[in-house]
Symmetry: C4
Subunit: 217 residues, 4 copies
């Protein structure tokens, strides 16, 4: 557990380095292997004060199971995703600038870059407007991602949620999502970038998911 | 007093880290608890040279009460706010890029993001054009903020002022103001983001002000 | 060889510092002097873990010639360039934001800045859309650069490739390409910058290539 | 002389920190007090290798007066300015992104911000297109600045030159020029910012030049 706590603290620092978060906004969570539990960022604590110990242990309803700091107020969305998606062990939420700008317009990011085909296997979709505090956001995330290969979803008027088989993969999806959101925005400012043909998207996605990288490390 | 001086020097460094200021522009002030006094950045001193000792002690008319460095030339605006608003103990002024761009057009930032509803409880309003050196800027700040929940005001053709119950809260408002100014600008470049319904803004604002964070720390 | 390995690892870090890459995207390769071999970044390894030892030695068909890490999946494009262009000893590939935005629209960057005339001797051209994994990308790079003085080519819907007489020169071209891609994009947002007359482009290019700098260092 | 050399090396590092330069582009020079000499950056040397010793001593025709590194190829423009303007003791040249974008369109930056009135006393003007290597660029700088209070001039299709009573003041002007170039660009993307009335520009300029700061330090 201590290793997972430390990894989670380190991944939060990665959000800062990548420029995805300001002040105390944004959070990463991890499913605890072999238990109906998750770890998540405490609410409203500055990134530079986060430690392995400050990560908050909760059940899969989002309720803390130990005394101490309160969990992120986004915990209910994370918990819902873990309940519905046993394949997911990491969830990230940010208000990263360009992705959130697409979300504010309620517009999906079209697949116009090979890097998007690689990582997202198509467009990055838009989920519904939903209020914080119950299952509404989680429901919107899960329902929207069902019809897509994308591990990222733009929640309308709000920000981005990403999922992964590990917390690190979810962070990678958050970083890549902001990167393509920015590049496609800038491309669109002076014209209309062409979409990649669906068959080519399939080939790129398949290759990247199966050939890229060093295999299990 | 030395702790407050040190905190103020540290908060100035936060403005630099957050990318809100260049060269010697921008300043933070703090009300001295239990006295009709304030501390503020000295005029024209580079951020990397600021120390606890270099913060300038002034009365609430903006007049320095000790020999030494001259206060920021914005001191009269800060002093006016402290005189009129006993609930305010921190004031920040910056020319942060995106917020100042909205100010240059004299346009309020509409509430199209849940993060804006959380922190600002609605739009970020625009105050009048006013010249430096007397009470005009302070008057513009106080009058404009009266009709809003926002702790930030865009002063026309000039920049941003933010207020807070503590200096740190005022800095937070300055950071969040630039963040949403940037995101809403970028959203607007390619379309018109939808405003959040007033009842939802109220719910989000209420929750964020009362439920978010760890309570008094 | 160990010096070349170390230089290559250091040049990868330069891509990060210059803001041209995120996560594990992007790569630099170097021709091994006096041998039909190249060194290249391993596939999917984070930049902060790269060392001289982790650079992968391959033949000029892109096949690794030692046990260990797998090479970047872009190795075939690099290898093709080295086979066809004996004058090239360094190749860089990135998805840097502004250059990739021009690539997404399939639009060449017009020569409207003296800095572009200096380094690129004219426009930065666009190459074809090509899938990864064989010689298609390499063929597109070599064919497109044939008619231009530019050491950079924008590969449609994909990103940038740059070449150089040394790996460092190729990295320089990648840095300058993103810089002018950004500046010309921003100039174009509010009007149409004038192109530099071809005769002046020739004069600037000639002077920069022959007079600038300290000669061989 | 060694103090001036060290100050010049440090000011070059400030250009990097402020994000005004990439690779080896950009340079700062200083008039040597009481002599017809200047110090300037060597040509094509990376910023991280610059030392007090590597600064190149030249006469006011731009000719090096010691063996060693070649001066920046922009030395003739700097030298011309020192010959014509005895009040100037520092000159800076950059291709900073937003200022250069205005220069590429050949458009002056209108005075729509109080910070511009403070530092530039009006618009930032555009100078002619001129080729490097003789007096043409210097002549364009001096002629354009004659009719303006601005210490910065946008050279068409090229970049920015700034002047100052000290090298540090010229660097300040370069930093402020990029800052207002960026803010006004962004303001203009979504509308037309109002210009500040000339009488108010005069009041702001006068106050900033005479009241701001700590006096001679």
């Amino acid at each position: 557990m201590i290793e997972l706590r430390q990894e989670l603290a380190d991944l939060h620092r990665l959000l800062v380095t990548a420029g995805l978060v300001v002040w105390t906004a944004g959070n990463v969570s991890a499913r605890v292997p072999g238990a109906d539990l998750l770890l998540i960022k405490p609410s409203g604590v500055p990134y530079e004060e986060l430690t392995a110990e400050s990560m908050v242990l909760c059940d899969l309803e989002g309720k803390p199971v130990q005394d101490g700091l309160k969990p992120s107020s986004d915990v209910f969305a994370h918990a819902y995703v873990y309940r519905q998606r046993p394949d997911v062990s990491g969830v990230v939420h940010t208000h990263s600038t360009y992705a959130t700008a697409w979300a504010a317009r309620g517009e999906a990011i079209p697949c116009v870059l090979t890097a998007m085909a690689d990582e997202f296997g198509g467009e990055i979709p838009v989920g519904p407007f939903a209020l914080i505090g119950g299952d509404d956001i989680g429901r919107g995330i899960v329902a929207t991602l069902e019809g897509h290969r994308s591990p990222a979803v733009l929640m309308r008027s709000h920000g981005v949620f990403t999922i992964g088989g590990t917390p690190r993969e979810a962070v990678k999806a958050a970083v890549m999502c902001e990167d393509v959101a920015r590049t496609v925005h800038i491309a669109r400012q002076l014209g209309t970038p062409e979409e990649i043909a669906p068959a080519d998207v399939d080939r790129l996605y398949d290759r990247y998911q199966n050939v890229y990288g060093q295999g299990v490390r």
